[in-house]
Symmetry: C2
Subunit: 516 residues, 2 copies
Amino acid sequence: MSEMNGAESLVRSLLQSGVDTCFTNPGTSEMHFVAALDQVPGLRSILALFEGVATGAADGYYRMARKPAATLLHLGPGLANGISNLHNAKKAGSAVVNIVGQHAASHLELDAPLTADIEGLARPVSHWVETSLSAADVGRDAARAVQAARSAPGQVATLILPSDTAWTPGGQVAPALPVPARAPVEAETLEQAAVALSGPDSLLLLGGEALTEENLERAGRIAAATGCALLSEWANARMERGAGRVPVARVPYPINMALEALSRFRRIVLLGARPPIGFFAYPGKPAVLTHPEAEIIALADWAADLDGALAGLEQAVGGSGTDPVLAPPVAPGSVSGPNTPESVAAVLGQYIPEGAIVLDESVTTGRAFHGATLGAAPHTWINNCGGSIGYSLAAAIGAAFACPDRKVMTLTGDGSAMYMPQALWTMAREALDITVVIWANRSYRILLGELSGVGVMNPGPRALDMLSLERPAIDWVGQAQSLGVPAVRVERAEEFAQALERGFAEAGPNLIEVLL
Amino acid sequence: MSEMNGAESLVRSLLQSGVDTCFTNPGTSEMHFVAALDQVPGLRSILALFEGVATGAADGYYRMARKPAATLLHLGPGLANGISNLHNAKKAGSAVVNIVGQHAASHLELDAPLTADIEGLARPVSHWVETSLSAADVGRDAARAVQAARSAPGQVATLILPSDTAWTPGGQVAPALPVPARAPVEAETLEQAAVALSGPDSLLLLGGEALTEENLERAGRIAAATGCALLSEWANARMERGAGRVPVARVPYPINMALEALSRFRRIVLLGARPPIGFFAYPGKPAVLTHPEAEIIALADWAADLDGALAGLEQAVGGSGTDPVLAPPVAPGSVSGPNTPESVAAVLGQYIPEGAIVLDESVTTGRAFHGATLGAAPHTWINNCGGSIGYSLAAAIGAAFACPDRKVMTLTGDGSAMYMPQALWTMAREALDITVVIWANRSYRILLGELSGVGVMNPGPRALDMLSLERPAIDWVGQAQSLGVPAVRVERAEEFAQALERGFAEAGPNLIEVLL
């Protein structure tokens, strides 16, 4: 038996399974894991001031690295603080391996202050939850957690680590376990889809890994061969975009716009996408957004072999000889005038740097972004897939660790950003190349529209007061600087352009408060 | 049948049951509740920028108002963000009524982005969880939720409100339901306790409602009559303290100090307190902190009739004629010199204003506070009972709403405060009379001690880096100002004293960054 303790076997087993990055806010029960970081080279550990930052970073890391990071969380409350971003990760199909400390078994019965039902808290946001029972089990449990996380499309696995299993000798390092292959699509469904895609009243609706550069090219050739339209889900885990790439619009968020965008389609093939539904239920509106007579062909869900599905579909429709429509580059030019959703969109179209990773959490301000940035320099676009706000600042940290050579940019409403301002500190501490753009409209603007959407026609002053962030106005420049991130406030589009240019040119993080 | 919708019946029923304060961050699915605020006068609604602020505020409100506030939270993720402070509330015996929006039943099946297992998330931190099934049920369900919350010692009740039950007509206002009486103590156990309390090797260990001013006086007379010692739990939901009151020290947090403090007692009577245990398990240390031969008499748990128990015990030991030992006022004087845990404690002893509510989240810095503030002007002292950090800024908001005529003061480590900085904005928006004191030691100082406590003897640089908040240092003055709260930084005790005096003299919130 080895003299290695459980914590060290955990670190070594994570490394064996390819997990080399850990986002954490540890506590007493995790101190042996923390100590093992100095015994075992190779596991990078990044401190967050709040656990939602750690779980959001793990999500962003997976989106770009295509392999899971670990989180290390302190007991039930530490996990609880990370749940909402784990919800987002789960809805995005992101692989995450949570390590959650727990009291020693003998201590649990005593109901100490921090005792909580960790498994119960973990289950709603995890595909896999287990508690290690002894130091000898920890390594193998870690390998199983990584295996579960890497199962398609990418899952959330939570391993609970009682402190005595961490500090007791007898740890065993476990090798990586095999990851199940993605399921191929059925030949019959493929044939059915190939027949259905014909003419402008047919739609190929894409999601998940169907939005890689290569798969988009295949989709573009399928569209060229069949005349079908291409759309993606409203929220995408990751999409490649920009000049020279196949342009794919998202199904709009506002329910009336979504109904309108989908109304003409009578045959819809789903490829990595779910049937389009409303984000919320609205009185008197349908929940399913497709035309009542539309035929829906579920070719491949998000866990299926989407590369194979697109290749097969391309072949079935005879797409290989065709030229897809590609996005032309935006015409160079300067933008000036006051900040508006349209002017800032135009600035983005000009200034998104080549290879940038854009994390978009701009629910209201962002409605003009698609058209304006379609011909920007080639870049990656990331959406929040779970609707829990406070996502993009945290996820940007993970994206920056996954791709240290690329510029990272977050586009975030002020209401969303205030959910997770602690992320700014980790950006400063790690000198990450992130440009944080805050759309400062000083309200929960989205909810003004939602009020009438759900049938509240004449909201009174007390209702409207619950949607206002004006009293007091948040000083985002001061907020960022207090956490070590240089910042600037802009009121006009040309100032925004200059600030972006400067932000991208300099190393380390910066924040731009865009007054709207 | 009324034309009132479910949301309006909810607001009216909460008011009928005595709930008139709601801390919230609402979303689309809660818009009908928000709209009802303008239809129904009397329910005060306070906006928070993060749900942990709302749930922490509800906890602080209960501690002082002794009746529950409501929270209004947006779906599963909104609840999730509030869980860690609900954990703290549950461990404190605080009554809280959570209203959590949910998708309409028809929408739930579609697995929209924000869909989550809300009941599953709520259960680990709630004593009572239900989902309303129709508009007609909502009012009665609200009354039942308040009834559950008010059951001793104070419970967390979570009512889930599908959006269609909120917007559908047919709401029925429900009257308040009776609250079960607290259980009286057994006469036999009372007699046993009275016999056990005799001489300095006997201890009366107090918790919960045994720490009211009147009950402390009874405890003081019991101690005077029997020679027993008085202690309270380490974390108390609320304790009355200061000059002229019966002084009761807390069982210390560090395990060796706790073992030492309890070692001499051979007979321990528990009155609203649990048997003393370690906050964590430590290798080679006992989990139960009392002497192995100590006899433990569980006279009354925290849900029992503690007023009756103390009155009965006082009578049984013949305490009514005795004079309790009371804390003498601190000698007036000025403190100067660099900030140290001792010098700032001495400043607190001089400057805590009469009637202040002190929320203490100073795990390392606060170890000298008890002795130094025992003779301060009479005040209320509140601890975090669940150990989940990021509590006191949020709870201060609730205390300020419960007691608008009293000064509120939070004492918080910087690591804890960064868990919930959003609370500062609500303090500014509501112009609450709160002085926020940040102990800026720029580290998770507590964990430095915990490392050796759990047996990590020579932590390496990577481990120590996980405990440091120095890179970058957080500028608390800038942080507060960016959220609308005036702030000042102090390096010396005399500056701290001046800042406190100024902070208490002015209306509205202020923050003092105490560099340590």
